[in-house]
């Protein structure tokens, strides 16, 4: 947990970094997400959509494992077109499904690794569940931008972004409401963007910014 003094110092440092990187092609952007009470909001998805140039399509691959009746990781961000493999590390079977409009699918009850990966070909939020275990929930944010991150336990996420303008989207599975997107101009200097997000103790899966 960061004190106010620390954060202020960090902000000062970010401004200094942004000023110093002015001449360079890229700048370090740190997003500091906190709840209204000042607590860091970890596992917050941070996406920088470049406004100056369209990002290239992606054919990345990702893995969401199932360990101890949990999806690991719980929150994932992938580029549109990424195929995700759902191995099962548990000795019990799971039946992974999604009723989310961005990707609706179901993997029949299985153990071990399924044969086919699932391709997430539409941007949006996909909420994964297990038909057997109601408590197993995973969130996959499908985005076009290659610039995205997840806040750490400290509630921060740092990215090296080429200079330019970006739309900053933030989302947390427990958010009570959507966080408005904001435009960020990235220069050579480091920049810290504070974001406030109101979360509940239980997941809500609302307010995914499109």
């Amino acid at each position: 947990m960061m004190t106010i003094v620390q954060r202020r110092r960090r902000i000062v440092a970010g401004v200094l970094a942004a000023l110093c990187a002015h001449a360079a092609s890229a700048g370090m952007v740190t997003v500091d997400v906190t709840t209204p009470s000042g607590a860091p909001a970890r596992d917050t998805v941070v996406v920088f959509d470049p406004l100056d140039a369209a990002p290239p399509p992606s054919h990345d691959a990702a893995i969401i494992d199932q360990v101890s009746k949990r999806f690991v990781p719980r929150v994932s961000v992938v580029r549109t077109g990424t195929s995700i493999i759902f191995p099962n590390s548990d000795r019990i079977r799971h039946q992974v499904y999604s009723f989310s409009p961005a990707k609706t699918f179901t993997l029949k009850l299985y153990a071990g690794s399924p044969n086919t990966p699932v391709i997430f070909d539409h941007p949006g939020l996909v909420v994964l569940g297990c038909n057997i275990h109601d408590n197993m929930v995973a969130y996959v944010g499908v985005v076009d931008s290659p610039y995205y991150a997840k806040t750490t336990d400290a509630g921060t996420a740092s990215l090296n972004l080429p200079a330019g303008r970006y739309r900053l989207r933030t989302w947390n599975p427990n958010a009570l409401a959507a966080v408005p997107s904001q435009e960020i101009a990235v220069q050579a200097a480091s920049l810290t963007v504070p974001v406030k997000i109101d979360v509940s103790s239980a997941p809500t899966a609302v307010g995914w910014p499109e």
């Binding site: 499904y97 009723f99 179901t106 909420v127 038909n131 197993m136 899966a205």
Partner: protein
């Protein structure tokens, strides 16, 4: 209150108190128990009711969850496939018998519904608070719809996060209420309040029973549903709850009543068992008190009362025998077995009470000289003699007679005579019976008896009077030395005279009405005057000069004689001392009585008088009759010894008439004997007297005593006595007893009288008092 009642009542009261306390305790406990029991039942009822709801909830929840977790259903929900959803809801609702199955959005808007009148698109009235509380795994609440109560469960539909709610409602109907009532034993009422008015939806109370007052209720307020409110009311009738306890109390009361009655009867019986023998014993004791000893103490028991009865019986026997022995002691002479004086008196008065049955004769019998038998032969012989005499008297055949022993040697008998003329012969038969010698230890004992007889001719005579008459007759017989005497009126002393006589005698001593007379004593051989006998006369103020015979026996009877002897001695010694001092000593002889000998201080009195008047003891001679030491010879002898030791001479008066024997005389410190005047006077008329007188004189001399003869009136008698060797003479021949002045005149210038004396008389004028001389 009798002992019996007291025991019975005490027992019964005690038991009643115990029972009342026990019943009270039981009753109070029961009452409390009943109320506690009802409260406990209600607590249980509430708990059961809640468990029932919980149990329902679980069932409903499971059913709802089964629907909610169905993949196809989730898919239908996710895709908002409303028709499919309704069919699924309808299907699952029918399957588990739910009254309503509703699918709502997370906001509570109805997506699809089956049952009741819930329409899609309308909000389902579960408040958000309720919803959030329901967010767990199927919370329950009560729903009110159209006046009915439903139990509602709500479960989320996840895909995988909650996207919708499934709510299922089951009616809490009569069946459920009865089920609850059956389990809890309580009356169950479900009530709904809509529009501010409570209405019973279901109740297990019988119709009309709702107005019962004695009912304890417990109200369970259930959740609100919109404007409506539901409540479950559990109730229990206190009366019902108490009924078994009251039955128990009634039984206890019955038992108490029965045992009270039984114990009262038992206590009464027990008490009666105790008190009846007590009553019997009391009655027996009462009769014993009144002197009846033959009452049967018939308590045949082995317990304490039996012991008491036995003790009383022993006491009865003991008292009876003691009573008899006391009676014997009181009415019987222990030695002879004859009646005693008391019994004799009683028997006699009984006999006297019977009028015109013939005269009653009484005899008082005295054994002569019985004392001497005791003295010489011992008391055991005396007792034997008495016993034999008693037996003889008792054996005398008489008509209706009784024999008693009155005193040591005195008996009495009475009988009823046919005729007064038979009195003498009855008396004689008694004398005859006693006359024969008694043999004790083969030794003959000669004993005679003297009888006094008296006759009660009419019914007028009293016992005492009759006995006294017999006594007087006895006295007379003894005086007359006869074997028996019959009472005559003449024996009776003039009682009044005697009484006044005593007073007069007293006065005589105090007022010096007594006079000393002197009669000279003359030595027969020489005519020498050896002295004088002092004689007493009473110068009575009205009756003139009285001779001793008129008052001496009376004085002896009354004991006044001691006083008179003292007076006489004092005056005689005083006179003797006067003469002694005048150089003309005269030996003086003074008569003393048996009473004086019995006076323990007599010798010291004499000694002190001699000392006081300073007269030599040798001049004093005391004359006493044999009767003076017959009463108690040992004591008399001791007194005589004491008197002799003073230097006083002693003379035995009336020698020859009494019982004196040689052995007696030999032991006594006597200096002279005096031959009785009857012998001396007999010398003239009765030739048979002479040898008696002669032997008496010889006997006196044989014992070394002087012999005095008195009553000499003639020279012939004096000559005869002189020839017999009699030492001293006294009599009219020489001089009559003279008052002091006459005696002094007579004595004047005289040392002797002529041996052949002529009777000398003094003139009546010589007496200072006018007296008539009487012969002593």
């Amino acid at each position: 209150m009798t002992l019996r009642t007291r025991i019975a009542v005490t027992f019964s009261l005690l038991l009643a108190a115990v029972l009342a306390a026990a019943l009270g305790a039981v009753s109070a406990t029961n009452r409390g128990n009943a109320e506690r029991e009802v409260q406990r039942q209600l607590d249980v009822g509430v708990s059961v009711f809640q468990r029932l709801l919980e149990s329902n909830r679980r069932q409903l929840t499971q059913a709802a969850q089964a629907v909610a977790s169905d993949y196809g259903f989730r898919e239908a929900v996710a895709t908002r496939d409303t028709d499919t959803l309704v069919s699924v809801l309808q299907n699952s609702g029918e399957r588990i018998g739910a009254a309503l199955v509703v699918l709502t959005s997370l906001n509570g808007d109805v997506i699809a519904a089956s049952g009741l009148h819930v329409k899609a698109g309308t909000p389902f009235p579960v408040s958000s608070a309720q919803r959030s509380s329901l967010a767990g795994d199927g919370a329950t609440s009560l729903m009110v719809d159209n006046g009915r109560i439903y139990q509602l469960v709500t479960v989320p539909v996840r895909s995988p996060l909650p996207v919708a709610w499934i709510a299922m409602a089951f009616e809490l109907d009569q069946k459920a209420a009865h089920e609850l009532a059956d389990i809890t034993g309580l009356a169950v009422t479900l009530a709904v309040n809509s529009d501010g008015r409570w209405t019973n939806v279901v109740t297990t109370l019988p119709a009309g029973a709702t107005s019962q007052t004695d009912v304890v209720t417990r109200r369970i307020e259930m959740s609100k549903w919109g404007n409506s409110q539901a409540a479950a009311i559990l109730s229990r009738s206190l009366a019902d709850a108490r009924a078994p306890f009251e039955r128990l109390t009634k039984v206890l009361f019955l038992i108490a009543a029965i045992s009270l009655v039984a114990s009262a009867v038992a206590a009464f019986w027990l008490a009666r068992n105790i008190t009846r023998p007590l009553h019997d014993l009391t009655k027996a004791v009462d009769q014993m008190r009144s002197g009846t000893y033959d009452v049967a103490l018939s308590v045949q028991r082995s317990d304490e009362l039996g012991v008491l009865a036995e003790g009383l019986h022993l006491m009865q026997t003991a008292v009876q025998s003691r009573d008899q022995s006391i009676r014997r002691l009181a009415y019987e002479d222990t030695l002879t077995g004859l009646m005693n004086r008391t019994a004799f008196g009683a028997a006699l008065s009984e006999a006297l009470a019977v009028a015109d049955a013939g005269p009653v004769a009484v005899a008082v019998i005295n054994l002569d000289r019985f004392r001497r038998i005791n003295e010489h032969l011992g008391y055991s012989v005396g007792d034997a003699v008495l016993t034999k005499m008693a037996a003889r008297l008792a054996a005398v055949p008489s008509v209706h007679s009784a024999v008693a022993r009155l005193a040591a040697d005195q008996f009495a008998a009475f009988t009823r005579l046919k005729d007064a003329a038979n009195l003498q012969s009855w008396g004689t038969s008694l004398v005859m019976a006693l006359a024969e010698p008694v043999f004790v230890e083969a030794q003959p004992i000669d004993i005679t008896a003297t009888l006094g007889l008296a006759l009660a001719a009419g019914g007028s005579a009293s016992t005492d009077e009759l006995m006294r008459c017999a006594d007087l007759a006895l006295e007379h017989a003894r005086r007359e030395k006869r074997a028996l005497a019959v009472y005559e009126e003449a024996f009776k002393p003039a009682a009044r005279d005697q009484l006044s006589l005593l007073g007069e005698l007293r006065r005589a001593v105090e007022h010096d009405e007594l006079r000393l007379f002197f009669q000279p004593k003359i030595e027969l051989k020489t005519g020498r005057i050896t002295g004088a006998e002092v004689l007493l006369r009473w110068q009575h103020p009205t009756r003139g000069l009285l001779s001793p015979v008129d008052f001496i026996p009376f004085a002896e009877q009354t004991g006044f004689i001691r006083r008179m002897t003292r007076w006489t001695l004092d005056h005689a010694i005083a006179q003797g001392a006067v003469w002694q001092r005048a150089g003309k000593p005269v030996g003086l002889a003074v008569n003393i009585s048996a009473d004086d000998i019995g006076d323990e201080r007599f010798d010291t009195r004499v000694a002190s008088m001699l000392t006081r008047h300073q007269m030599p003891p040798a001049l004093l001679t005391l004359e006493l009759t044999e009767s003076g030491f017959i009463e108690d010879p040992t004591r008399a002898l001791r007194m005589l010894d004491a008197l002799a030791a003073l230097g006083v001479s002693l003379s035995i008066d009336d020698f020859g008439t009494g019982y004196s024997s040689l052995s007696h005389l030999a032991r006594m410190p006597v200096h002279e004997v005096k031959i009785d005047r009857s012998f001396v006077q007999g010398l003239e008329s009765d030739p048979e007297t002479e040898p008696v007188v002669r032997s008496a004189i010889d006997m006196g001399h044989g014992l070394g005593l002087k012999v005095v003869a008195e009553g000499i009136e003639t020279e012939a008698a004096a000559a005869r006595l002189r020839s017999f060797g009699c030492d001293i003479a006294q009599g009219y021949l020489y001089a009559k007893p003279m008052p002091l002045a006459a005696f002094e005149a007579w004595l004047e210038g005289k040392e002797r009288v002529p041996v052949i004396a002529m009777p000398v008389d003094f003139k009546i004028e010589d007496l200072t008092d006018s007296v008539s001389l009487a012969i002593y």
